[in-house]
């Protein structure tokens, strides 16, 4: 099923009025504009001063406007911080309009949780409203290596119209290990992780409400994707679980989710995958064969399993062969 068009209606007229018209894709293809006009973009309250947008559990497409990942908003007495910018400028501008409805405070920070397009393709819209972009110290390097490829491969996947205006914009404020951002009345704690989902994963913790924005270190219901290190992810699972949060906003899946129970299924999937791959390696089976069966017992537990499991198995095989 494509998307819940009722729930995700765009705020009326956002495309040319709500935000600085200069950066807005007003000359979009008619089809995209028509689609945009019929969608509503809604952020839901998660806790006091904390809001989130729930992305759809799909691959990015022209129909869903790239809005597949969860996005966050935290409102302080002085300023607002936003967690991830979304998968297109259309989405990002709708997001900015929706943020304006929950707070009139300026958006001081855009925090990117990692390099993937569904989290960073909206960055240009936040640069235009003056937000400082914050990210893991490895994020600029990762975007250098992938930016051109993302702009090419996603043009094919989501179409010219939705790609319009998208730029790869690296963070200017980097997190080496930990960083605190004071929004007035509340301080966000940012933490840079070692390679797991990617080699540039960042989490954001709002101590005032105990809300953890985990980025794609946590997937709920949708199959986790592996683009960093399976062993690294498993090794850091305990440290992740030890964060004293009351709830989590995962990168993908229901918002909010219970903590740390949200990690249980993900950890089990990785352990099954690692077990199957290790056995294949020990048996001398080649990668091309092993990836067809590894992790299959988990198929019934996840959305998008067929889209991502073989890819995860491929990456896991190449990594675990070195154990």
């Amino acid at each position: 099923m494509p998307i819940d068009r009722v729930r995700r209606k765009l705020v009326n007229g956002f495309a040319c009025t709500a935000v600085s018209a200069a950066v807005l894709p007003c000359c979009l293809g008619r089809a995209a504009l028509a689609a945009a006009g019929s969608l509503e973009f809604k952020v839901e309250k998660v806790a006091d001063g904390v809001f989130a947008f729930r992305g759809v559990d799909e691959l990015m497409s022209a129909a869903n406007q790239g809005a597949i990942s969860n996005l966050g908003v935290v409102v302080g007495t002085d300023a607002v911080a936003v967690i991830d910018s979304g998968g297109s400028l259309i989405e990002a501008n709708a997001f900015i309009a929706a943020i304006g409805k929950v707070s009139a405070k300026p958006v001081r920070y855009l925090i990117n949780t990692h390099m993937h397009p569904d989290h960073i393709f909206g960055n240009a819209a936040f640069r235009e409203i003056g937000a400082t972009i914050v990210g893991h110290h490895n994020l600029p390097r990762a975007l250098e290596a992938r930016g051109a490829f993302y702009l090419q491969s996603f043009r094919e996947q989501i179409g010219e119209a939705l790609m319009k205006g998208i730029e790869i914009i690296p963070p200017t404020r980097l997190v080496d290990d930990r960083l605190q951002l004071d929004l007035g009345g509340r301080v966000l704690e940012l933490r840079a992780w070692k390679a797991a989902h990617t080699d540039n994963d960042l989490t954001v913790f709002d101590g005032a409400t105990g809300t953890l924005f985990a980025g794609d270190l946590v997937f709920v219901g949708s199959l986790p994707t592996l683009d960093g290190s399976l062993l690294g992810w498993l090794r850091q699972m305990d440290a992740l679980a030890a964060i004293g949060a009351a709830r989590v906003v995962p990168g993908h899946g229901p918002v909010p989710a219970d903590w740390p129970q949200a990690l249980t299924a993900e950890r089990r999937y990785f352990e099954v995958l690692a077990h199957d791959i290790r056995k294949a390696i020990a048996d001398g089976r080649p990668l091309s064969e092993a990836v067809k069966t590894a992790g299959r017992s988990e198929r019934g537990n996840w959305r998008l399993f067929d889209d991502y499991n073989e890819r995860n198995a491929t990456a896991a095989f190449a990594e675990l062969e070195w154990e």
Partner: protein
């Protein structure tokens, strides 16, 4: 500084020159292409090949689908950075033997992924490796017989698309472990006559040179395993001239006929001029 050092080292090998020239030409292509459906993509892959084959093979005739060489890869790449590819050589159809196999990925920034030389009497009939595939493309294996005939097989691979990029996943780890090697030996299976198999793994980022320095906009120099040779007691089994289309942590699995009990020796040289060497005793084959 780095950039200068890279440019001052002129490629001396003909293939290296081809790698370099095409990287630049197709770097532009990468930025501007927006291939649509698969049909259009096969046509565009083919037209790149038509332009490319003269650069690599001159005007020599290339025989297609003769059965001398066969190539297999998944129809859809799962991870653009790690696409397994298998090349088979049928020595019954090339009685005088095959001396080299060139692996080509039409649409990649460096389409000549690797050129393998096969040792005389090494008995290699199957070689598998892993490559990066940037977009919808044919993968081609062109075998040259001892007699100088060229035979080609091809298979079409749809790019993985999305956020699986042909880039290094864990850059810090890749640099920290660079140069480590591992050799796995698989005893002959099924019949007594079948050769044994080796799998050579080398830790190396095998970085593309397509990343731009955000400040200078210059391409950051590529850093990859340029030459590799595998031999048994100084008798060549397989050697390779390779480029950035070979995946991070280059990995080669192949069968061969052992001659005596001499050690397996490996030497790899990367574009920084670093040399990595290792050797392993041949394991008992059970024969």
């Amino acid at each position: 500084m780095q950039d200068h050092a890279y440019r001052s080292r002129q490629p001396t090998l003909p293939l290296a020159a081809i790698f370099a020239a095409i990287i630049l030409a197709v770097g532009t292509f990468l930025g501007s292409s927006g291939a649509a459906d698969a049909q259009q993509a096969t046509a565009s892959s083919d037209s790149i090949w038509q332009d490319l084959k003269g650069d690599v093979f001159g005007d020599r005739a290339i025989l297609v689908d003769t059965g001398v060489v066969r190539i297999e890869a998944p129809k859809r790449a799962q991870d653009a950075a790690i696409v397994p590819v298998d090349i088979y050589i049928d020595l019954d159809k090339a009685p005088d033997g095959v001396k080299s196999v060139t692996l080509i990925i039409d649409v990649n920034p460096a389409p000549v992924a690797a050129a393998f030389q096969i040792g005389k009497d090494a008995g290699v009939t199957h070689l598998s490796t892993r490559v990066r595939v940037n977009d919808y493309s044919y993968l081609r294996a062109i075998a040259e017989t001892q007699g100088g005939e060229l035979h080609m097989a091809q298979t079409f691979v749809k790019a993985s698309g999305g956020c699986s990029a042909p880039a290094v996943k864990n850059q810090d780890e890749a640099m920290a472990t660079m140069g480590q090697m591992k050799l796995r030996q698989f005893p002959p299976q099924e019949t007594m006559t079948k050769a044994q198999e080796l799998q050579l793994m080398i830790r190396h980022p095998n970085n593309s040179g397509l990343q731009r320095n955000p400040l200078t906009q210059y391409f950051i120099p590529a850093h990859f395993v340029q030459k590799l040779s595998i031999s048994q007691a100084d008798r060549p089994i397989l050697s390779m001239e390779g480029g950035i289309s070979i995946s991070e942590d280059p990995n080669f699995r192949f069968d061969f006929k052992a001659h005596g009990n001499g050690e397996i020796q490996v030497e790899a040289i990367d574009t920084d001029g670093k040399v990595f060497r290792d050797q392993w005793p041949l394991e008992a084959t059970g024969l």
